[in-house]
Symmetry: C2
Subunit: 123 residues, 2 copies
DNA sequence: TTGCATAGGGATAAATTTTTCCCTATTGCA
DNA sequence: TGCAATAGGGAAAAATTTATCCCTATGCAA
């Protein structure tokens, strides 16, 4: 059972958005859903480095937080589609801002990230 | 020694920005430094829920990633001041966008976060 | 002399997140 | 029959992050 021993910080807007976006794959899930990749298997193919399990868990949290909605089609084999709620859509410009900054500074970011990880002694 | 067993994902802008901003207190550190709280002790007072230790570690990473710079004054008691580099300053509008969305949706966010945590069974 | 403020790091413990492995079920295809 | 695709969850291990505790050092004030 998931019980939090360290209380959440919910003081300001940054804390609050952190709470719903903090998760290794959440922002990318939102982005790919925004781009029209709706089915879990599609999302998994777009994000092959994540385990199926954690994608399911993060999708569930995004749904509980009202950012995405889920439609289950009663067919076999199962078919599920996610889409952004209006609330989730209101986040799209914010995610764009993040992604654009990352794209614009991509060379520099790659460099500093590599540089920093060299100081992690090997083995 | 910090050795990563799961490789980083550095495919797109979102991955890259995630790598430098992912850390429980990093965004808030950047924000408070941007607001002029420069000394480690001030930052710790602004973020009392974080341990001193982890603030130091995250400040160090922000510095290694070139987002902040550090000046050590050779005085006793020690004095250290952080400030945003130009690279870090270029992130300010992005962090604003995050914080503003959080502020604008603060009531709703508080509600959904509480709602979701109720489904974590007690005990 | 004791205590506080300053800054920071090592070692270890705890908490949290993510991965891995294995299971359910059904239809269609070779 | 055996395997793939579909969606998803339990249990446990592994990885990672964060917290806790204790230590260094100096000058100032009560």
């Amino acid at each position: 059972m998931k019980v939090r021993k360290i209380p959440l910080n919910l003081n300001c807007g940054l804390d609050l958005i952190g709470e719903v976006l903090y998760g290794k794959w959440k922002i990318r899930l939102l982005w790919f859903i925004h781009e029209g990749h709706k089915r879990p298997s599609e999302l998994h193919r777009k994000i092959p480095d994540a385990s199926r399990r954690v994608l399911n868990m993060q999708l569930k949290e995004l749904e509980e937080h009202g950012l995405i909605s889920k439609i289950i089609y009663p067919v076999v084999p199962p078919k599920v589609e996610y889409s952004l709620t209006d609330f989730g859509k209101s986040l799209v410009p914010v995610i764009s801002a993040l992604g654009n900054w990352g794209d614009e500074n991509q060379d520099r970011l790659r460099y500093v990230i590599m540089q920093a990880s060299e100081s992690w002694p090997a083995k």
